[in-house]
């Protein structure tokens, strides 16, 4: 474990901004005593107090300042809908910061971030944190989304040295997926960097690892899995990983969420 103190907090909603038809920027007043989280940490939000939906919903921390805890929320089902409807002044139960690993800093080197959909959130937290700590040189974001609307306009433009956008329907930016876009940017010499960081759908991360990671010194990724406890107890969120003596299952919530992407047994990933 990264050894961070975690806890249960009551947090007051301080803002709810609509970034697109599906995406919300939810800002909470930072609860008293909420520990200093690092890029890759997440929280688990209890969106209601009735048994439907039942479980807490996991969300990457998009930013944590002295005063605010910020989440980027895409409405996809009943839990995220309730969270997306949060109003200023509402109180919610938040467990966190969770996660046993965090993104290792680029140590002053150039870094490429690939965020698929709301996988953008931990990429923003990493870029902001390292900017504050003057820990990276240049930061390039490749943000892939299905449509132009989901690219969220110029949101987070100032957090990176340069932002590259791609859409699957070609409505904005590069026409195609983020991985092909990154491949072509590298080929053209438009960007070069030694560190690769990613977060997004498993298919995207897998393809990054298999197709482009050799162009970088390292590839760290934050994975998602359906979670119940969020703390490593229930063993519900496992991913297949490589180990010296064979394969092992790792819990995304407590052995991750950040993994060296070469550690994951991608051929066994569902």
């Amino acid at each position: 474990m990264a050894g961070i103190e975690k806890g249960l907090f009551r947090a007051e909603v301080a803002g709810n901004e609509k970034l697109s038809s599906a995406c919300r920027l939810i800002r909470f007043a930072r609860p008293e005593g909420f520990p200093d989280a690092k890029p890759g940490h997440f929280v688990a939000v209890r969106v209601n107090s009735s048994p439907v939906p039942l479980l807490r919903r996991p969300y990457s921390i998009m930013d944590l300042t002295e005063t605010e805890l910020v989440l980027l929320v895409k409405v996809v089902g009943p839990g995220s809908r309730l969270l997306g409807e949060a109003e200023v002044g509402d109180w919610m139960d938040i467990a966190g910061p969770l996660g046993g690993t965090v993104f290792p800093s680029p140590d002053g080197e150039d870094a490429v971030f690939v965020g698929g959909g709301t996988g953008l959130a931990p990429m923003i937290f990493a870029a902001r944190t390292w900017k504050r700590e003057k820990d990276s040189a240049n930061t390039y974001l490749i943000h892939g989304a299905a449509t132009s609307e989901e690219l969220l306009g110029t949101f987070c433009e100032e957090d990176f040295t340069k932002v590259f956008r791609s859409t699957m329907d070609g409505s904005e930016g590069f026409n195609g997926d983020a991985v092909s876009f990154l491949q072509s940017l590298l080929k053209d010499g438009a960007i070069s960097a030694s560190k690769l960081y990613s977060c997004g759908p498993a298919g995207m991360v897998k393809s990054l690892e298999l197709k482009v990671s050799t162009r970088f010194d390292s590839h760290y990724t934050s994975l998602e899995a359906v979670m119940a406890c969020g703390v490593g107890a229930c063993r519900g969120c496992t991913v297949p990983s490589r180990e010296e003596e064979g394969r092992k299952l790792m819990a995304v919530c407590s052995d991750g969420t950040v993994f060296d992407a070469s550690q994951i047994a991608w051929e066994d990933w569902e």
């Binding site: 975690k6 806890g7 039942l54 119940a228 406890c229 107890a233 229930c234 063993r235 519900g236 297949p240």
Partner: protein
Amino acid sequence: MSTTGSIKVTIGDILFDNPVFLASGPAGYGEEYDGFIDLQRLGGIVTKTVTYEPKAGNPGTRLQETPGGLLNSVGLENVGASVFFGEKLPRLLDRGIRPIVSLAAEDWDGYRKLLDAAADTGMIDIVELNLSCPNVERGGMAVGTDPRMISRYVGHAKDILSGAAIIAKLTPNVQDIGRLALAAEEAGASAITAINTIVGMDIDIRVKKPVFKRKRAGLSGPAIFPVALEAVWRIVNTVDIPVIGVGGIDSVDDALKFFMAGAAAVQVGTAIFYDSHLPEKIVTELEKNGIPASINTEGN
């Protein structure tokens, strides 16, 4: 079971400060919930079921929410006897947390080795035999649905862990859970825990496949509370040993209902995932107003 003054309960010869435990599985090995749950406030925790050899558990999707419930197909992933007895258990004991050790086996040979290892530790005074996991190919429910097997497993545990309290945890996936409870009692069990998860399944309509590799999974959470309550009521009417109620506790009131059905103690499982303070709230309520008396006098 006896209630001594406050809300202490005894199971076998073991005295617990209160009758509220975490259920095996959701409780993990206890240490995971630091910062969330004050385990010293609870009567104890039932540790994640351990098998002799470590188990990796089931591949593929392991969790799926249902309305008011949770399907899981974890498949008894655990660290195995040697790490559990060597590292996890001593750590709990050092911290003053009261463990009830949950044990299971895939076959008789594994069961014998596990019990010998447990006996060798010299640390174990109470165990819960998981005779009821629906998520493994062998052992689990195959043993737990056959009264003769239950009696053989309980009897062997009595022999090897002499002096320890043996609790039999039963599956609701049978016609008459009372009969299984009776078999456990006759074989010398000190208590019965009911219920384990209920077999269920789900289908992913986009890919036209069952959600879980093993198809079936175990349902827990508020959705199963009425089933658990009826099982406890029925077992209380069948045996004289204490019954520990588990299944779907979602509120303090649910816990009170188990006591009214005649349970001597309760375990909270799935609810700690979303309302981690619930077990402590139940303790606080019992401290304030005592343990409700059983209203279950049917047949006695």
